[in-house]
Symmetry: C2
């Protein structure tokens, strides 16, 4: 079962003047060849590319730990933000029951396994209401908290950890509290590994060369998934299958490179927005995960030669058919500023049939005997038709079914595409220098030692004018 | 308690060359005056503007019905899509417990009332897995289903209704099933009012002149809210307060007009994207609701004079601080193609303090004794500072607290702003002609009588080339 990509509808032969032409492909060729070479040269440094292959022992360790711990807890709680949160949420939504946390324990049996699994919560914000309300919902002493921070200095995650550590130690005592915390962090750098070793927490390692948004297939994503009964080996198998399909340096033989190339050509033609619109509830959060991957990797001030480029393409999250009633008006009639990626599924996990009723009412009668499977599929095809007819660039990715393998393919596909798009744009897809300013300003506002100069700079900024407050 | 808008950071005096200048305001003046006149002229037709004033009887009817029914059901289930779903979800998320459906009944006591309330589900997609999985989670015979469709011909909603009607009649018999369905629809047009009258369902009316995306403050949104214990009178009071603040025809005295004017000037300067980024979990789904309102209202092919304009601004949903770790890199370093609207809260409903721990670790020590309230607020200010420093257009809306009144203000503010932005752009903010093509193509694919010509047109489209499928 393989992910398919259909890009007929980005071509000028089908959508007219806004489409991609042979001349566009020809113009991209030198950059594409250079980017392919860079991808090959840099592969050893891109450690996330090896995750499908080098984790047999790690997977075994994760599974053993999950098996040991899962029956003693009600919930597995991720403390993480960015890639540490978006990946776990996307995989859980894709592969488990959509009302997973609302089911009684005995029904939380992922993939038909005889075992049952704890609830999953992902705490990815510091809204002060979040933890308070969470602990009105679940008993924190019956949870296992997974603190995920590669650097160990992520303020949001580490502050949550500090609150929870104190709470658990107060309620359970130090020794029992210790067993309720598991860390995922760097093997030697930063505070969290130091704390984990000193306080004797169980920990898993984020490998070198695996950045936050490329970390779903390492313990960052695998540990929460394993605790919810997800076949993590299957995810990695799928990633390996996709890696195999992405071996060629030629965009015409490499689907991830082609996805990237089409997007970069679209960007060059003024499409500064890309919409990812899954036609499946289960894939809804893939859009959120992709939005970080694509937005943070490609949105850059400088290129690799030090020129100011201010490049990037803004990812937009949508859901079919739902957003046909919300966003498609804009997509079909608004500016020609978008690539729209429909993400379909051949076979859903359930079938539901509309009964034959109201046969005398034309707008209802035709629905009788039809399945929702047919309805969602035909609406997807109809949206594709309408977008194409109005000359809007669109393409379709299709998963035969949503399984650990096909999901692993999809995640790895997007990762390779993102890296390649970065090199096509001649920027570094793996850094995020633009978030430092905000972090430093936060430290300055709290008066953290060492940030006095930043504080002085902020204090010296011209004051706001009340005239512009209404 | 009033919504505040601070637009200092859209001005060139603060962000430099990408900012709005006095010349931009001067250039907009004729269009602004014309739009203000159109708003005044069209006010009688914009029936959504009167919803804060003319619903005393309707509110009483909704409250009485909710009081009568709520204790006999486990869950209130909205069958609706687009405005019929996004509004109810946004209000529920804003005002009720974030884990509302997971709480035991006795804890589902909104606003400290002694009463308890049913769960709320919103079924806004036809993914075949959705209803199947929902009914593995709740017993459909213990639910009240609210079928919301003004036209009565929304395929998604009506097909759900048909499935559920058959299921309820089979399990409960016709008479008991009848009491498990309540309709919200047009007072005379379409199938649903006809069905409601013939089959004797309770129903509420969507008033004339109130389109889907402007319907949250009519029974479409008020009925689900009332069933969850939300003070719907407070929502309407807040809307009236905002209406009072939006009386002036002058943008400098009318915050909603100013919001619209700033966005249109931004659009004219190439900002084809607007990000709404609440710094509060409770306001997360306001971004989704706004995305429909802004996207569907302003994304248009023709202007009011029949010229092809393909205008529109793409709304992007974000969440602070979470998306600082996902999207802010792009916002701060990528193209100058965005307006960023931060949506803050002065006072959260809870306070949580970080304990003093790890004082010897600089990146953790400064957090000791700080509250998450301070952390989220300072991160918001730091993001604002970073965006401003990098010359990115940003503005801040602030709610003193999230209450029914301030939420009503915010919803009404966005509605007025959207309508005014439409007239500034010289387009019709109230239609959505671009969704017809997709609907008709769906009918054609199902062979619905009357759509033979569309089917023939689709069949005549050039076939796809397998060469472009990978």
């Amino acid at each position: 079962m393989n992910l398919r990509m259909d890009y007929n509808n980005v071509l000028s032969s089908r959508i007219g003047k806004e489409g991609i032409t042979q001349a566009d492909f020809d113009a991209l060729k030198p950059a594409a060849e250079k980017a392919s070479q860079t991808m090959a040269d840099n592969r050893p440094a891109m450690k996330w590319r090896e995750l499908p292959y080098n984790q047999a022992e790690i997977v075994a360790g994760i599974k053993a730990y999950a098996a040991e711990m899962k029956d003693g807890i009600d919930a597995f709680v991720v403390l993480g933000i960015g890639g540490s949160a978006l990946g776990p949420m996307a995989v859980q939504q894709a592969l488990n029951h959509p009302f997973y946390n609302e089911l009684p324990r005995e029904k939380r049996t992922a993939n038909g396994a005889a075992d049952s699994f704890p609830k999953l919560y992902v705490v990815d914000n510091v809204d002060p209401e979040r933890l308070v309300y969470l602990f009105q919902t679940i008993d924190p002493t019956r949870c296992l908290f997974n603190v995920i921070s590669k650097s160990g200095s992520t303020s949001e995650t580490m502050s949550q950890f500090m609150i929870i550590k104190a709470l658990l130690e107060e309620r359970l005592g130090k020794e029992a509290a210790r067993k309720r915390i598991v860390c995922t962090t760097d093997k030697e750098k930063g505070n969290l590994i130091k704390i984990a070793k000193e306080e004797d927490y169980k920990y898993f390692i984020v490998p070198d060369g695996v950045g936050g948004r490329f970390s779903q297939l390492c313990p960052v994503g695998l540990l929460p998934a394993a605790f919810c009964g997800i076949d993590i080996g299957g995810l990695l198998e799928g990633a390996a299958q996709m890696d195999e399909r992405c071996k060629s340096p030629c965009i015409h033989e490499n689907p991830a490179y082609m996805f990237a190339a089409l997007h970069v050509m679209a960007l060059n033609k003024g499409k500064n927005v890309t919409v990812v619109m899954p036609y499946a509830d289960s894939l809804k959060f893939i859009s959120d995960w992709f939005a970080q991957l694509w937005g943070e990797s490609l949105g850059k001030h400088f290129d690799l030669d030090g020129n100011v480029v201010n490049v990037g393409q803004t990812p937009v999250k949508a859901l079919g058919v739902t957003d046909q009633h919300s966003q498609v008006q804009l997509y079909a009639e608004g500016p020609y500023d978008k690539m729209i990626v429909l993400l379909g599924v051949d076979e859903y996990r359930e079938t539901i049939t509309i009964p034959k009723l109201y046969e005398d009412m034309p707008s209802l009668g035709f629905l009788g005997g039809v399945t929702h499977n047919d309805l969602i599929k035909n609406e997807q095809l109809a949206t594709e038709y309408a977008l194409t007819k109005s000359g809007r660039m669109n393409m379709t990715l299709t998963l035969p079914r949503v399984t650990p393998q096909t999901l692993g393919q999809l995640l790895y596909f997007f990762e390779v595409a993102t890296a390649y798009a970065g090199y096509l744009l001649n920027i570094d897809p793996f850094d995020q220098p633009g978030v430092e300013e905000g972090k430093n300003a936060t430290y300055a506002l709290f008066g953290r030692p060492g940030y006095e100069a930043k504080k002085a700079e902020m204090d010296a900024a011209p004051p706001k004018d009340d005239k512009y407050v209404m």
